[in-house]
Assembly symmetry: C2
Homo-oligomer: 556 residues x 2
Amino acid sequence: MLESTMMDYQLTIPSILERARRLYPAQEIVSVLPVGVDPATKAPIPGVHRTTYGKTYPRVMQLCNALAGAGVSSGDRVATMALNSYRHYELYFAVPSVGAVCHMVNIRLPVEQICYILTHAEDRILFIENVFAAQIPHIRQHAPKIKTFVVLGPCPGGLPEGAIDYETFIGAQPTTFTYPYIDERQASGMCYTSGTTGNPKGVLYSHRAITLHSLASLSTELLGVNSRECIMPIVPMFHVNGWGYPYTCAMTGAKQVYMSVFTDAKNIARFVAEEGVTVCAGVPTIFLGLLDELDRAKSAGTPHQLPTLGTLLIGGSATPRSLVAAFSDRHNLHVKPAWGMTETTPLGTVNTVQPGDFADDREHKYDRMTFSGRPSPLVELRLEDDDRNEIEWGSGQSGRLLIRGPWITGSYYHNPEATAATQHDGWFDTGDIATIDADGTMMIQDRAKDLIKSGGEWISSVDLENELMGHPAIREAAVIAVAHPKWDERPLGVIVLRDTNQSPSKADLDHYLLERAVAKWQLPDAYEFVDEIPKTTVGKFLKRALREKFKDYKLA
Amino acid sequence: MLESTMMDYQLTIPSILERARRLYPAQEIVSVLPVGVDPATKAPIPGVHRTTYGKTYPRVMQLCNALAGAGVSSGDRVATMALNSYRHYELYFAVPSVGAVCHMVNIRLPVEQICYILTHAEDRILFIENVFAAQIPHIRQHAPKIKTFVVLGPCPGGLPEGAIDYETFIGAQPTTFTYPYIDERQASGMCYTSGTTGNPKGVLYSHRAITLHSLASLSTELLGVNSRECIMPIVPMFHVNGWGYPYTCAMTGAKQVYMSVFTDAKNIARFVAEEGVTVCAGVPTIFLGLLDELDRAKSAGTPHQLPTLGTLLIGGSATPRSLVAAFSDRHNLHVKPAWGMTETTPLGTVNTVQPGDFADDREHKYDRMTFSGRPSPLVELRLEDDDRNEIEWGSGQSGRLLIRGPWITGSYYHNPEATAATQHDGWFDTGDIATIDADGTMMIQDRAKDLIKSGGEWISSVDLENELMGHPAIREAAVIAVAHPKWDERPLGVIVLRDTNQSPSKADLDHYLLERAVAKWQLPDAYEFVDEIPKTTVGKFLKRALREKFKDYKLA
């Protein structure tokens, strides 16, 4: 091989940190944090913490020194159970900068599962938000490899025994630090899949993956983040690197607004206005709430004034068309779906329709805006049929979605079985069923295991759900397979009504779906009305629980 | 080292090619090529060749097969002496896709120097534009390692002996090709420095460098190229990868317009209008010509209608402030300086001032718009004093500019002396003298060797030139050092007038410069008026030749 004469320059997270400090020292990182409790409502009161890329840098250096002082060295896992705030941001950069692995634990999991994950990852230190500090004794008992507990945020009632306060941990440290040599393929971060089935599986991100994902996110082919934007990542930072935003924003000097516990629609609207947010990013559930709030305020004659806000980036679940249309028609906000997974760092595709596109055909535009989008630069997609033959793009045929690229997982951490089940000839099998248009626009049809197999034909549960959620009487709809003696499986619709006194009949819903190009044989055989659909910790429908609940359901 | 679980996915040029074909098949690549000669003026007549990313793909595959069939394999050097057109574009992709090295030779060099370069690089095949085909016998004699000559474009008078026509070379080949395994550190391309001093030095680009440079170019922190742009790279494709545009445009599906021999202002204006060009990229000389043409047409009452054109990207030399102001004030066009070198693939910095910035202070805006700009993501800058101590950004002090990053050269090809002279502790010494502001905005003051050392103080020749070129009577100005008995060196201004009958006096020019904040001791001691300033083949002032011409100059 004839090598080039280019430098052997490693792509590492410290380079992003240094860039943010040097080029964008005055750009802000705003954290909305609880500063007390309203005595009447018992609700936390939000306060604003304001820092900059320049001011946060010496604190990150202090944290690096404190980690090194605590014996953390290359390859060690350091866990966080933390909310979105500047402290979590500091951990995002300091832990990889000492060569260690920032393991972002999903704080919404049951504590037993958290202990399983902490033990599997062999975490040595846990940085834990003050609101979860009461769990420390239990974690100490069930994840005994953790030797150090550092509490983020004040504990007015006193620190749990043996725990250290974060400010004390870093306070006395020097504000300069010499990075160790870091190979770009070295692990920098870790997440476990939220696990709709089986035990969570660990994915180790690399400095290279994070750097390339951040750089690609600056392109308008992906997120188009730039130094003039103000991003509010409502997505939790434990959820696949907070969709990469902490790193992406730092690389280009975008302003960041972190909401900690204040992810309700009223607070989102308030701080979007106060901080001049241009992009909000989160799961559909968050935006369903925001839509209700914007509608309510508008019809009350006191609409929210959000002149800077332009784009709502939606990921984590399929984007209902009704949401796209409602935000656009009623609030002039552009919904932008993105698709990714824990295994994809996370972004694989983003919908690249822009606000001015298809101006003469709004219905077509909204159809296109529900698509999962086109692959990022450096990411490749492939569709396969059941025999692993490639399905041509634009054929209309759906198949298993495979993906490859420099930020796609090639294995699971200490889990050869799960690795073997998902890796095929250099491609990662997503477990999703999708279509891909001739121009590379991908649409997730369903999780492979959520498809409904009726008489040898597949019915997409996601398609039915998205149509049903456009019905004015329906707040949420999940569709699952139930056993059928003749057809093998048939769809059952599980519905949460907006108003339990206004329940549509099956005939109403059949008519509604048929009008929206659903085939007759795909119509759900029955509907059940429930108060709530169980969800995963990241807001997806937990269909496993619904299937369990309705496993003996008898179709009429 | 704890490795991540990410895939080992190589960053290679075939991935860019595949992306362009799959995602942007209908996007156009337009080439304006000579289709005959005007009998009256003897000028070539332009004709439009139109293809797409989709249609060019099978031709690239054919070229891959033809190269493999001609015995080209991994690491082999393949030379081009070619104009900007779709054929050169095909070579840009096919040569690296077979694992070989696309060596883009500067066609404006004297044939002796071309033969030196071809021999030094050990090129095996030469793809040569029909207009240079007469040089084949000479090259065959003086660069005997070249075994195959392929002529680009028709030769109505017949092919030179032993040469092959390009269409014949690829025509019978299959339209599919299986890429060999390519390591991203492998050499993909090669350029020689245009060499204002000494013999040209070779730089080998890598698949990794090109891929990362392209991805960074999609960010608004660098070029901000996207799929909705139409780019006219007037910069020759032999000049540092055509500033990366062929690869960058393909990665994001931007339309490209190539001008071959038609780089005069009238044809630029014509095809910008006809093809809807949004960005033109070239050296200042090109845009000085375009400015004259736009001014002329406007004052003649027949202004060019260029509604799509927004940005003029200028590189290769410092951007005169007068050019920035003239395009903005008179033609509503935004000039965007960029800085790079053969050794930097090429982009190191880009000026990120946007059209709407500093709207209330036009003079300040134009000052800022002449800066070389801020470093690209993944690129780091460093300033050093003569003792190799780092100079802090924002100190106002100038020093030697060093640079590092994944697309910066770490050595010269087979040239350990030149390598040792420019590599210092992982940084490349650019040989430029620069300042860097507190926010990372860099400004080239001069080439180190072009600085004028007067009484122990430095005078920037570039600063004086840029001011002088704003004078209404002056078309071009170069400033060089001449020996002085007392001050060691003093500046001499070498001037090309717009109208030789309107020559300003020294007192006029002194007054003009003093009004523009030039210090009295920095004023040139004398001026010489010449018909033309000699230039390098890429349009930079050839100061070496001026210094030679005026080496015995006696100051009064």
